[in-house]
């Protein structure tokens, strides 16, 4: 059986009538030690889980804000090893916190797929999402799925609004931990708010897919409320938080304060009446 931390989190939150709030951050951004402090601030301010991006030279699914964060992290010396170290340091403090890793395929295959998943598990990662590997390619050429199972890691998949019935079924069947539901087409970014109201939550529930987190274009407490209202079990906020880091890049104390305040306000929006 793969990691249960995400499942347990959803159970805990359901009992409390809360949705999940999951901030996204780029690992080692702007540098390893500041990154650790930022993530700690997020958790201490109420984040229910973390989704962490491994910096990549060519993040083709990401908008400008996260692209710049990736670039900055790499320029400041980020490596896969250093990113695992940051996660491992967090894991020592927060034993129950679900941690998901977003990583582009090349970083996985370059390390060796089995070794990557094994090392991630050892660092304390619960779930891995590879945004440029669609479900069709998950075990067709390289076996990401098997590597995840062997390492006890949840395989996270993205369910886009335009997937056909068959794809939804195979996503529902394969996905573990949580299902990443796209609020809209396109790439990450806070500029384009989510426009369409996805009706796939019902469909995914019928297919017995894992709990749903809505992502892309969510930047404000109203968006989080709206996500829960339309049927998501929680929301992921990335670019809006990464932008706060960028805006306060020269003043760490201010940065941490602003991050904490933003996370608190977004988490507060998940409390159901």
């Amino acid at each position: 059986m793969t990691s249960q931390r995400f499942n347990q989190m959803f159970k805990r939150l359901e009992a409390k009538h809360e949705g999940a709030f999951v901030p996204f951050a780029t690992l080692c951004h702007p540098d390893p030690s500041t990154s650790f402090r930022i993530l700690k601030a997020m958790i201490d301010s109420g984040a229910d889980a973390l989704e962490l991006g491994l910096p990549f030279s060519d993040p083709c699914a990401d908008g400008l804000i996260i692209q710049k964060a990736n670039r900055r992290a790499l320029n400041n010396g980020a490596t896969t090893d250093l990113c695992f170290e940051v996660i491992s340091n967090l894991r020592h403090i927060y034993e129950d916190l679900p941690i998901s890793l977003l990583v582009y395929a090349n970083l996985v295959v370059a390390r060796g797929i089995d070794k990557f998943y094994q090392d991630a598990a050892e660092a304390g990662v619960d779930a891995i999402l590879v945004p440029d590997v669609p479900v069709e390619m998950l075990d067709a050429q390289h076996n990401f799925k098997l590597a995840a199972q062997k390492a006890g890691i949840n395989t996270i998949l993205i369910a886009p609004p335009n997937a056909d019935e068959k794809t939804f079924e195979s996503i529902a069947k394969t996905c573990e931990g949580y299902t990443y539901v796209l609020s809209r087409f396109g790439i990450t970014g806070a500029e384009n708010e989510f426009g369409r109201h996805p009706d796939e939550f019902k469909k995914l529930k019928e297919l017995n897919a894992p709990h749903t987190l809505l992502g892309f274009g969510i930047s404000k407490p109203e968006h989080v409320k709206e996500a829960l209202r339309i049927g998501a079990d929680g929301a992921i906020v990335g670019s809006a938080l990464v932008r706060i880091i960028e805006d306060h890049i020269d003043n760490q104390d201010e940065m941490l304060k602003a991050i904490a305040a933003k996370v608190q306000s977004l988490k507060a929006a998940t409390l159901k009446d």
């Binding site: 060519d58 395929a105 090349n106 669609p134 886009p160 335009n162």
Partner: protein, 411 residues
């Protein structure tokens, strides 16, 4: 999937889930169109009456003097638009129309694919946006203006070192949000399935014509064939017909300042297996898998990855992948202009440079070479002028001292 997305262990379809339906739709449209006589007729009519196919083949008269080598040039530089790129954009644009798409996006390095895309969009009434690295837009300025003249919107990409790699990423990002009405017209035989297959099928006309032409002229197949390799579309277009034969094939990569420096684009020689730009292929990358910036004097070859079929053909050993340096390519550029009255694209100059190298190594050997002259060099003249001027190759009197371009110790 209707077609095999793999080339041996390479290839595949590594894109965000949201783009999978668009790729499957494209694959289906392509397969249907291959079996649709009216589509094929429209394609062939446009190739003949608009693009100017077949292109001729020219025997070099002076470049080979003093040797027993014959060099034939397959004249894709004479194709409308100035390069082989026009062959496949016609096919893809017709597919886009067949799918009901009204807008085309494309990436471009040297600007040749951008120009080809712009011209076919102008002809067929499609909206057109071209992504081009800001560095490339500067060094290929004439092509930027050509695209804009033909109504294309050119978006300069400023991230990274602002070359072809960033333009590819940016086009993919556009497509993730726009695929409902937009076709991404990839310009080379790379990217996710089905692009490497589609581009090859629309480019293989180069080799098919060359095969007939060389038999007609020489009564036999050539002793070697040369094509430059950036993403790999003109090379795969030339090679496909000859793959089942035993003719030695050379894919010439950009050696930049030398393949043992960190300034080159020799992906096949120096690359590692990995997933980038939608496919499992070879890339220039570090230990973690971060993609390196490539380097070449030629914008069209300045790419840190390669079409997956070339990675496969390297693995099987069917094609010899070699490199020509910036200096060797610049010398070939000047020599072909000087001796034959043909200004080649800097990209194609790499293929010619390697043929000249083999010719010089064996001046007394009777051999017939076929070089794919994939594009013309008008776009490069300002850039090459600046390089020559800076290096003192152009004298006070304005004359070009060809011997200075690639000094002996470099050879």
């Amino acid at each position: 999937m209707l077609l095999n997305p793999y080339f041996g262990k390479f290839g595949g379809m590594y894109v965000p889930e949201v783009l999978v339906p668009a790729l499957l739709q494209l694959e289906k449209a392509f397969v249907d169109a291959q079996n649709d006589p009216s589509f094929q007729k429209e394609l062939h009519d446009l190739l003949r009456t608009y693009a100017g196919r077949p292109t001729t083949m020219t025997l070099c008269r002076n470049l080979t003097s003093g040797t027993k080598t014959k060099i034939y040039l397959k004249r894709e530089d004479l194709l409308h638009g100035g390069a082989h790129k026009t062959n496949q954009v016609i096919g893809q644009a017709l597919l886009a129309k067949r799918m009901g798409k009204t807008r085309i996006i494309a990436e471009t390095g040297a600007g040749q694919h951008g120009v080809a895309t712009a011209l076919i969009c102008a002809l067929l009434g499609l909206k057109c946006t071209i992504y081009m690295g800001a560095t490339d837009a500067k060094r290929q300025m004439p092509n930027v203006f050509r695209m804009r003249l033909m109504g294309a919107e050119v978006k300069e990409v400023t991230t990274g070192v602002a070359t072809l790699k960033e333009a590819c990423n940016e086009a993919l990002r556009d497509w993730a949000g726009s695929f409902e009405n937009t076709h991404y017209m990839i310009g080379t035989a790379a990217g996710p399935h089905p692009f490497p297959t589609i581009v090859r099928e629309y480019q293989k006309v180069i080799g098919e014509e060359a095969y007939e032409q060389i038999l007609e002229r020489e009564g036999k197949l050539p002793d070697a064939i040369f094509a430059c390799v950036g993403g790999g579309s003109n090379a795969i277009g030339m090679f496909t017909k000859f793959l089942p034969t035993s003719v030695p094939l050379y894919g010439v990569e950009p050696g930049g300042l030398g393949i043992n420096t960190d300034k080159h684009g020799a992906t096949l020689e120096k690359g590692e297996d990995g997933i980038f730009f939608g496919a499992y292929s070879l890339n220039l990358q570090n230990r973690d898998g971060q993609i390196h910036e490539s380097y070449s004097v030629s914008a069209g070859l300045d790419f840190p990855s390669i079409g997956p079929q070339h990675a496969y053909l390297k693995e099987t050993g069917r094609v010899n992948y070699v490199a020509a340096t910036d200096n060797e390519a610049l010398e070939a550029f000047a020599l072909l202009s000087l001796h034959e009255g043909i200004i080649p694209a800097l990209e194609s100059s790499h293929a010619l440079a390697y043929a000249l190298k083999l010719m010089r190594e064996n001046p007394q050997k009777e051999q017939t070479f076929l070089v794919n002259l994939s594009g013309r060099g008008d776009k490069d003249i300002f850039n090459v002028y600046d390089i020559f001027k800076k290096r003192g190759i152009i004298g006070e009197d304005g004359q070009i001292d060809v011997a200075k371009i690639n000094p002996k110790e470099d050879k």
